[in-house]
């Protein structure tokens, strides 16, 4: 028994090294002075030179700003549609069209991106022919595409959170005469808020990160950050991209740290409340 425990634990440690070594190497080489990226220039390093280069690259900054705006709108749209779909699937039992909705929400998760991208572009072209909208492709079509593939993820997150709760609270409120809309805002929404928050973050990240689908539905003048990065790194490694990667890792790490601390705090407060409640009702 002992030896197998050792084997899987060694595998876990090696696996984690495999997952983190590439990220670490990007961070380290972002402080390298040499243009030759992977050759460490010990004399003049560490340096913040590439961060300075990055801050003056208006193409990257503009693309990042476009990506942020698209991700904000897409994540919000995906959360609204995904929450509706998740509620219908988790709460409405067997309704007409359930199979259709369930199938259409899980398929985009595994669908190869080239196919989703191609089919969406062909839709937009056909729509423009038929009804004269959208006028060409650009930020609007990118956002519509992102909402579509992001909402699938939100649906799964919300649906599994809702199936974890029984319906008795909602039914009790209904029995007491609350209208369905009120039940949703007073009972269901607070219960699934953590799922909605993580669904939104997931959708934001997926939208911010997507390259393949975006390339199909983007037009001239609507290059997102992944598109700019991809066209740069296709022709080799560039040191300022390392700096960009480091900044993104730093932002994610900070976000995770803050949310962990916040969740610990909430848990402690709830424990304290429970203790106080127990003490006051002997």
């Amino acid at each position: 028994m002992k030896s197998r425990g050792l084997f899987t634990r060694v595998a876990l440690v090696l696996g984690l090294i495999f997952l983190y070594a590439p990220i670490l190497s990007m961070v380290i080489f972002s402080f390298n002075n040499s243009r030759l990226v992977t050759v460490w220039d010990a004399v003049n390093s560490p340096t913040l030179k590439w961060y300075g280069v990055l801050m003056h690259n208006s193409q990257i900054l503009g693309a990042a700003w476009l990506s942020i705006r698209i991700a904000l709108v897409s994540a919000t749209g995906a959360v609204i549609l995904g929450t509706l779909a998740g509620m219908a699937l988790a709460r409405y039992g067997a309704f007409r069209g359930r199979m259709l909705l369930a199938g259409m929400t899980t398929a985009p998760i595994v669908m190869p991106e080239v196919i989703t991208g191609l089919s969406l572009l062909l839709l937009f072209v056909a729509l423009e022919q038929l009804i004269g909208w959208p006028h060409g492709v650009g930020a609007v079509t990118i956002t519509l595409a992102h909402i579509t593939f992001c909402m699938a993820y939100v649906t799964v997150v919300v649906q599994s959170r809702l199936t974890g709760f029984d319906e008795s609270l909602e039914e009790a409120a209904m029995d007491l005469g609350a209208r369905p809309v009120k039940v949703f805002f007073r009972i269901t929404l607070p219960l699934i808020l953590p799922a909605i928050a993580s669904g939104w973050l997931l959708a934001f990240t997926l939208s911010w990160d997507d390259l393949v689908i975006t390339q199909f539905v983007a037009g001239p003048g609507s290059s997102t950050l992944p598109m700019v990065i991809f066209s740069k790194v296709r022709f080799g490694v560039t040191p300022d991209i390392n700096a960009l990667a480091t900044i993104m890792v730093l932002v994610v790490a900070t976000g995770i740290a803050i949310s962990t601390i916040w969740m610990r705090y909430r848990e402690k407060r709830r424990e304290r409340d429970l203790r106080l409640a127990a003490a006051s009702n002997p």
Partner: protein
């Protein structure tokens, strides 16, 4: 205005259904339809489905030329088969690496479990594109791995790793490993350790107990994880483009090139339909497992 409960429900289910019909299902029908047309020099660059040639009654124009073209040029068949091979091998590697990792997490103490799971998921939150790009710096001829090996004296000439099948396997395994580990963990975590103890009491050696008890029980997790890796890997575009060979393309790249470089929409659509034909059974299998999982939770 107050909605009745039934009407409210119809809206809640109807709005996302309508959205997905319009932006997910109908687009596939359009791809299917365009795969049966021919290229022409016009906007849009394919022949229409209905034409009014001689009479007021439209005639339907269907062409199989996009498909027959795919089978006349060996480029398409070979990249199709190559993609299946790469996806299958990568899935197997993910399983071999991911299974012991998921097992170790499932057997660790509850408090360290959540930390370990977070460590597995964390890279997923940083850019996929940049994580693949990081491997260029590691695998290049004058990259980090070759530099370290030469410095240590293990090799004297740099190993050619970038633009090989090996680099594509590394890239896919690296990017999709969390998708393998998470379903496996969810499955392994539910196992009852008493079963293994019983097997040990009955004299089974640990490896035999694993083969006879743990492995069969975790089959659902293995299938779910493998599907989550295999299906997207078949159509992978970014990883083979950045790390892979230039003489052998994967089918996702072929589709993209047909569309963007050759501007042949019917052929690109036919390629998409053929990829879907290959994946339709795995995708339906995945959906069925997903549904069962959620029903079990209920």
């Amino acid at each position: 205005m107050r909605l009745s409960r039934a009407a409210g429900r119809r809206w809640v289910a109807g709005v996302p259904t309508f959205w997905l019909l319009l932006l997910f299902l109908i687009p596939f029908l359009i791809v299917f339809r365009i795969s049966f047309s021919e290229v022409r020099l016009a906007i849009p660059p394919y022949t229409p489905l209905l034409t009014w040639h001689h009479s007021w009654w439209p005639s339907i124009e269907l062409h199989g030329s996009a498909y027959s073209f795919l089978f006349t040029d060996s480029l398409y068949v070979s990249s199709y088969l190559y993609s299946v091979k790469v996806a299958a091998i990568s899935t197997l590697l993910c399983l071999l690496i991911g299974y012991p990792m998921a097992y170790a997490i499932a057997r660790s103490s509850p408090s360290s479990r959540s930390v370990l799971l977070m460590l597995i998921v964390l890279p997923f939150w940083t850019s996929f594109l940049l994580r693949v790009y990081a491997w260029i710096g590691l695998l290049k001829n004058n990259g980090v791995i070759n530099n370290v090996l030469m410095y240590l004296g293990v090799i004297h000439h740099p190993l050619v790793m970038l633009q090989t099948d090996f680099a594509v396997y590394i890239g896919i395994v690296y990017s999709y490993l969390p998708f393998m580990i998470l379903p496996l963990y969810a499955n392994l975590e539910k196992h009852d350790p008493a079963l293994l103890e019983a097997a040990a009491d009955l004299g089974a050696r640990p490896f035999r107990a694993f083969l006879r008890v743990t492995l069969p029980q975790s089959l659902a997790g293995i299938v779910a994880g493998s599907l989550l890796v295999f299906i997207p890997a078949v159509g992978e575009y970014v990883i083979p483009t950045l790390l892979g060979r230039t003489d052998q393309l994967m089918i996702g790249r072929v589709l993209s090139d047909e569309f963007f470089e050759n501007r042949d929409w019917p052929v690109a659509s036919a390629v998409a339909i053929l990829i879907l034909l290959l994946l339709v059974i795995p995708i339906m299998l995945f959906q069925r497992m997903q549904r069962r999982e959620l029903e079990a939770a209920q």
